[in-house]
Amino acid sequence: MKFAVVVFPGSNCDRDMYFAITDALGQKADLVWYQEADLSSYDAILLPGGFSYGDYLRSGAIASTSNVIKQIREAAEAGKPILGVCNGFQVLLEMGLLPGAMLPNKHLKFMCHYETLKVENAKTMFTNSYEEQEEIELPIAHGDGNYYCDEATYTQLKNNNQIAFTYKNNPNGSVEDIAGITNEQGTVLGMMPHPERAVDSLVGTTDGLRLFQSILTHWRDKHAIKA
């Protein structure tokens, strides 16, 4: 399976994402510069964390108008798995592929530590290696991670099983403890915690690796049926 890691000016978790795929998952990945990216030959697209364009205007806002975004929309329409982590999640929100928006953390502080998450939906292509309601540990590292949506949108997220992860101890003020959501089709996942920083027991936990394994399992199942 071949993954594209889209690199924007100011991305800084792109290499972690790359090594999560190549070293920990054992699959192919390329770092693709946003201006030169041709995403057509990739099976999945990863939008890494960081501070694209220095978080000017709003986190992810400037990146969400760049040329590569058109290709990301096309990939989403084709049903390719798209994962946005941290700033990548913010880009997905700003481009409207996922509903809602990010506000500054409730206490205005940049937070960088481990959080316990609950897997709310273990049936998605990103979460099939977890158990429903399983508690996992992943690091967070963000200043604008306070997820906001109105009540109607929340009801929709809930009814369509689009909430993938919630925080056990909400660190940032997110609506209904939301840490990660998918689109309606379940093919696009945005999350603030960093699975790519939790893929090796040497650094504490491999809870994040199972997210990438889920994508691979789903991809293999899909292609095994076709063959």
């Binding site: 506000l103 205005l108 306070n146 906001y148």
Partner: protein, 81 residues
């Protein structure tokens, strides 16, 4: 040439942690009658004359300058000579 002055504010009901912090600071300076503070953004955009300038500014705000999920915007257009 026109100067567009754009004011972007958080929607009513959206929590504004920064505004709350500023409010607390004003209280510590003894401005005890401050009952609420909301922090927004102000932008100036210079535009060359065109016939549908207002709809263009609306579109800019909707597409990029404001995030309609959390923000409202208003603007004034001034003539610059």
């Amino acid at each position: 040439m026109r100067k567009v002055k754009i004011y972007i504010t958080l929607k009513e009901g959206v929590l504004d942690p920064q505004g709350k912090a500023v409010q607390n600071s004003l209280h510590s300076l003894q401005y005890n009658n401050v009952s609420d503070v909301r922090v927004g953004k102000y932008m100036e955009v210079m535009l060359e004359e065109s016939k549908d300038i207002e709809s263009q500014v609306d579109k800019m705000c909707d597409e990029l300058l404001a995030n309609p999920v959390i923000e409202d915007y208003s603007y004034t257009i001034e003539e610059v000579v």
